[in-house]
Symmetry: C2
Subunit: 334 residues, 2 copies
DNA sequence: TCCTAAAATGAAAACGGTTACATATTTATT
DNA sequence: AATAAATATGTAACCGTTTTCATTTTAGGA
């Protein structure tokens, strides 16, 4: 591979002049500029950006830690990130961690080993262990969606409590009083917040919280299906189910159909996230829409600001949500 | 950030010794080793991997170009890639190109600018333009799923023609003779191959190919819905629809339901890919399963072999498929 | 104890750029 | 035409590591 010295030799100038021609063309005379450009073509020069990044100490790489890109909501967030990063001149190193802590720390380590400038994660644990921490103890990181509440890192999040409350109120307004909830994984703070919002709404309507209507889940279709089956068999069956994400809701609906329960006549089903599939299932799913792409864009912007020292204290950006009422929720009958 | 020189000073040895201690501990005396390790801890040394990669000329980064991670099938392929890469000591730089050619070439350029050792793409165009090509004209690349047929690059693919033929034969065996097809984007060779397989099966059964039963699509839910609507309105309606991917099939099924067509009694629907959702829609979707994760793993392995010079001629790996019959396809009635 | 071979360590070059500083050239001013 | 100022270019240090080669130290055998 031709390097900058080959170009310099071919053009009969110094390497400094070649570098200047490429970086700040206005600082070099038109005559020289032409010579150099011709030489660049002639020798087929491509700058070794690894050398540039090493020399400058800025990689312009951002690591993104995502539990799984198979989660359709995350996929939208990532799209937003990639767009914003491209605009700001950064590359996204997307780490699909699959819950594998080796992959996680492999990528997290990229920040402490100068391979990336900062990190964004869509999960709620500190990815940096003692071996990665540097002098001042803080590596540049932004948390999106899920929240680490230690207030040390910028956060872009949703008011999950308010959103869950809004959805529960919607169900209550349709006359439902026995409302089950299928939860997300307990490890996720977001799951807890949504649970609190659900309880808020119940309390406000003077409906007693019933522990037996709380079902475990992990945000997958299969978990939704399993919970749906369990609900179908309940003796005093609830008339509505609030699922903490859309995959769960779609899985549950399938279980209800196989148990010959009609949605929403026998049981209303609500989701969370508004993934693309939700408008195309039968019946179309009532859910909470989040500005997923905007989440991603904001996270990247925050991180870049952080890297540029434009941020004093870790900000907390709360994104808006929207209740999308479709046909999977209806009036409580009987 | 402490560098190797700080460690050397702290341990009272040379930088060469520090480097050796870290890279080939056996080449250094136990006494020195302990001193150095202690110094590493004391100064909080983390090697600057940008410098290492620059120096070695090997980045151990692989760029993966994917049109959109929102495609659930791709998400599975990516998971497989990440696993294999982790095992082989490589990092995946995942580029969600969103069809944006700027993002595409931004990431493709990483290979020609020494930021990545090679590239895998899940699309069928040459991402390298004239400005990226190096001396011998070939940059290390592997094509997965979609095929560039110039035989220059290794390929890991499916016999899409055979798979589409198998699915069409399944429909024919159920008594269907009017079988519509909802295509993928025309830009995709894979789409053409599946079309040919479909025609193969028709010809073999002496069913004349009907151009009017061929509907455009782009692998999205919405395109499937649109095509499904169009099919519902056809005067001489087909009794079966073969969709070139599952998203399309799910979108089409939704359109049929809204047109009061029962699946499969009024119309059978078949997909392709076997994404997770397909087992959880109503009715569960008949489809072609591909070993998605294995695709990813194989692509990474091929690329790494290519980088290590273990490959003479561009190999073509064909992965197996499986026909998954669920409830969305049934006997042709009437 | 002395000599040789093996093992351990150090000095310095190299990777490919950028950039501060020095020097050479051009342009402007009188 | 002489001089100052502005512009253009070159020289060399530098970023943090690895690695070759030279040198020193240690171990082993006589």
């Amino acid at each position: 591979m031709a390097n900058i010295r080959d170009v310099a030799d071919s053009a009969g100038v110094s390497v400094a002049t070649v570098s200047r021609t490429l970086q700040q063309p206005e600082r070099v005379s038109p005559k020289t500029r032409n010579k150099v450009m011709a030489a660049v073509q002639a020798v087929g020069y491509k700058p070794n950006l690894m050398a540039v990044k090493f020399r400058s100490g800025k990689t312009h790489n951002l690591v993104v830690l995502v539990p799984t890109v198979a989660n359709v909501f995350f996929a939208r967030v990532i799209s937003g990130m990639q767009e914003a990063a491209a605009e700001l001149g950064y590359s996204i190193l997307l780490a699909n961690t699959l819950g594998n802590s080796e992959i996680e720390s492999h990528y997290a380590k990229m920040v402490s080993t100068s391979q990336a400038d900062g990190l964004i994660q869509l999960r709620a644990h500190n990815p940096f262990d003692a071996t990665m921490i540097n002098d001042n103890g803080l590596l540049p990181m932004v948390n999106a969606c899920e929240v680490i509440d230690d207030g040390q890192y910028p956060v872009v999040s949703l008011d999950n409590r308010a959103a869950a409350k809004a959805m529960t109120e919607h169900l209550i307004s349709l006359g439902h009083t026995r409302i089950a909830m299928i939860k997300g994984p307990n490890s996720s703070p977001l799951t807890q917040e949504r649970l609190v919002g659900y309880k808020d709404a119940l309390a406000q309507a003077n409906i007693e919280f019933d522990e037996s209507l709380l079902l475990p889940g992990d945000f997958t279709l299969q978990a939704g299906y399993n919970a749906g089956e369990a609900i179908s068999r309940l003796e005093n069956r609830p008339t509505a189910v609030f699922c903490e994400n859309d995959e769960t809701a779609i899985g549950a609906m399938q279980a209800f159909k196989q148990a010959n329960l009609h949605v929403p006549n026998d049981i209303s089903v609500a989701g969370f996230d508004d993934i693309a599939f939700s408008a195309f299932v039968d019946p179309p799913l009532t859910t909470i829409a989040q500005p997923a792409e905007e989440f991603g864009r904001t996270a990247v912007t925050l991180l870049v600001d952080l890297l540029n020292g434009k941020i004093r204290k870790a900000p907390k950006v709360i994104m808006p949500f929207e209740l999308i009422v479709r046909e999977s929720t209806g009036k409580a009958l009987g």
